[in-house]
């Protein structure tokens, strides 16, 4: 294979940022945190549609879990209220726990799926939960071969899609 970027560190070092794509929030369900699953046209040549949609759907699932209003969140809320909210000084909230899971998931996705294709996901938390920022990199040393490389990988993955 041509020398594509293999890891996140190599991506940052050897590639130059070409452009950024922003996946906006989907407010059709209210103020809960959900992102649009619409496939951005700039990513057509870089990644398979299915992989991208799966990533966004998984993230949406995580956020829905974090914001779920149910038995455990009521318990947490009542306990916190009873202690005049001092308990938050020592305890991590359910939401924070899920955010850690999300951060780990994004890191894994970047390593396994996005960085090999010259893409990088940014955790929405760093962007005020407004957008999923996807940075598209051009491989500096071999920009011609990276485009041919990605087209070969997309043709390989296209069969699965």
């Amino acid at each position: 294979l041509c020398p594509q970027v293999h890891s996140l560190q190599e991506l940052r070092r050897s590639a130059s940022l070409a452009t950024k794509v922003f996946v906006q929030r989907d407010y059709s369900d209210g103020t809960t945190c959900q992102f649009q699953t619409k496939f951005p046209p700039e990513l057509e040549s870089r990644i398979e549609r299915q992989l991208f949609e799966e990533t966004v759907k998984t993230l949406n699932g995580f956020y829905a879990e974090a914001e779920k209003i149910g038995g455990s969140s009521y318990l947490e809320g009542c306990l916190a209220c009873a202690t005049a909210y001092f308990i938050f000084l020592c305890m991590e909230t359910h939401y924070e726990k899920v955010l850690k899971k999300i951060s780990k998931y994004i890191h894994d996705q970047n390593e396994k799926i996005y960085a090999p294709r010259g893409l990088l996901l940014t955790d929405p938390l760093e962007r005020g939960m407004r957008v999923i920022e996807i940075s598209i990199y051009e491989d500096r040393c071999s920009s011609g071969s990276s485009s041919s490389g990605s087209s070969s990988s997309s043709s390989g993955g296209g069969g699965a899609g």
Binding site: S16, L17, A18, T19, K20, F22, R25, Y27, S28, D29, G30, T31, A66, E67, K68, I69, S73, Y74, E76, G77, C78, A80, C81, A84, Y85, F86, F88, T93, H94, Y95, E96, L99, L125, E126, R127, G128, M129, R130, V131, E133
Partner: protein
């Protein structure tokens, strides 16, 4: 930079923005200082907030009324515990000071939590994000690029069958999520914005609404409790010695009984009324902002129903009070990453759209505009007296002092009911100077237009609305004047 935050109303970063007016990314100074001390993000926070304890505590700029609240609660409770409790615990039961103590700690805990926490501030858009949005807006509007009269920037979404308009915030350069609003006092967009409360010295929004509600609820119980037992104390004494003697004794032995019972009496009505109002808001899942604007009518059959309500009162209450607590989005204590500067445009090789360069200039202009406004506030009085010639070039004089006017007015403890003052008062102050400060202030004045402007509460509602629309339409014409006015102001400030 002292982490105490009490060194003055302005932070050092605003001065540094003025001094670097040629290139001016606020990250320039941290880059130079990078070798010595890495800066934390709260030190360069663009909103008008004060930070304490190295970024752990976040409040609005005007905190005078908050100290008044603290003093009132502490003094009233202190006098109650010192003078009434010994008598009552003997005569009736020692449970009275115990319950009073619990209520007092709960009140103080929730008050401090409301005042010190992040209400749900939305961080401003990064330059890339802002540029992308601009591009999408241009595409959506079709037509000539920019021009002098772009249509107002709104986006419509359908939430649970109801059409909701999302407005574009010119200060933060984002489309505000539903229920978010821009607080002109703190200069931040806040999620699920309820109102700006000077009594707690902070905005009330998504993240601290439940603390605020528990604060006013527990405070109502505390004031009713204190008031009831003060009356009981006086009655019991008067049974022993006669009513007039009881009153005569009390000032002599318990000097401030009458004063603080009067304070309690007035507090009871206002606080209990406020708690009742917020109980209604919670049960119908509305914010103060929405209720005042009359956004959602109650009748289900009509076009306009509240899309956020869960349908029944119990679920609404539980969701508001016991729902999950979302984390702070502004990461106050994080260190600024030197390799990913937040506002530097071309330096990291981004060459995506032609708009990028102008966007970074726009951001710089924003910073300059913000910082020059602060300079004007500070320099208002001396300039008024000494430099009439300079001001005739760029700005009319009365505009300057009236900027600080609305900010100061809220700290003077207005007679309006506590906490029922959304950022209206400051808006009315700002809108008063719309006709005077047309050039660079038009940019800022869009936000009061977006902020709540109820027809009922402002007596001069309609003329203000007219001047608002006028300025919305002529906004972009002022964009081109921004650079000139900003340069002029920077020259002015360097005098």
């Amino acid at each position: 930079m002292t982490p105490g935050g009490g060194s003055g109303p302005m932070k050092d970063c605003e001065y540094s923005q003025i001094s670097t007016h040629s290139s001016s990314s606020p990250m320039e100074s941290p880059h130079k200082k990078k070798k010595s001390v890495p800066k934390r993000k709260w030190e360069v926070f663009p909103g008008r907030n004060k930070f304490f304890c190295n970024g752990r505590i976040m409040m609005a700029r005007q905190t005078g009324v908050f100290y008044l609240t603290l003093v009132l609660i502490l003094v009233t409770s202190g006098l109650f515990f010192a003078f009434d409790c010994p008598y009552l615990s003997e005569k009736i039961t020692p449970a009275i000071p115990a319950i009073g103590g619990i209520l007092f700690f709960f009140v103080m805990g929730t008050l401090l939590r409301t005042s010190f926490s992040d209400p749900g501030v939305l961080p401003r858009a990064t330059p890339d994000e802002a540029a992308d949005l601009e591009r999408q807006i241009d595409i959506a509007n079709g037509s000539s690029s920019g021009g002098y009269r772009p249509p107002p920037r709104t986006k419509e979404v359908i939430i649970n069958g109801q059409t909701v308009k999302l407005k574009y915030c010119f200060t933060c350069k984002i489309f505000r999520p539903p229920r978010a609003s821009h607080c002109s006092l703190c200069d931040n967009c806040v999620e699920r914005f309820d109102h700006h409360c000077p009594w707690v010295g902070n905005c009330v929004g998504k993240r601290n609404y439940r603390f605020f509600y528990m604060f006013i609820l527990s405070l109502s119980f505390l004031t009713v409790f204190i008031f009831a037992f003060v009356i009981t104390h006086v009655i019991l004494r008067s049974q022993q010695t006669g009513f007039l003697n009881a009153l005569k004794d009390s000032p002599a032995r318990y000097p401030f009984t009458e004063i603080y019972s009067v304070v309690c009496f007035f507090s009871v009505w206002s606080i209990v009324g406020l708690s009742g109002f917020h109980t209604y808001l919670i049960s119908s899942n509305q914010t103060t902002n929405e209720d005042i604007k009359g956004s959602w009518s109650n009748k289900r059959g009509k076009e306009n129903y509240n899309p956020y309500s869960y349908g029944n009162i119990f679920t609404n209450c539980c969701a508001a009070l016991c729902g999950p607590l979302s984390p702070s989005l502004i990461d106050r204590r994080g260190f600024i990453q030197p390799d990913t500067p937040q506002l530097a445009g071309p330096s990291n090789g981004i060459t995506m759209y032609g708009a990028t360069q102008s966007q970074s200039n726009m951001c710089d202009q924003d910073q300059c505009i913000q910082s020059t406004k602060f300079v004007l506030q500070a320099a208002a009085t001396p300039l008024l007296q000494s430099e009439p010639s300079i001001t005739s070039e760029e700005l009319p004089l009365p505009g300057k002092t009236s900027i600080s006017g609305p900010c100061a007015s809220l700290t003077l403890g207005q007679p309006t009911p506590p906490s029922s003052m959304p950022n209206l008062t400051s808006d009315s102050g700002l809108t008063d100077i719309i006709p005077l400060k047309e050039e660079h202030e038009g940019h800022q004045f869009l936000t009061p237009e977006e902020a709540p402007s109820p027809p009922g509460m402002l007596p001069s509602g309609s003329p203000i609305a007219h001047s608002h629309t006028m300025h919305v339409l002529s906004l972009a014409s002022q964009d081109s004047l921004h650079e000139d006015s900003v340069r002029g102001l920077v020259k002015l400030s360097s005098v």
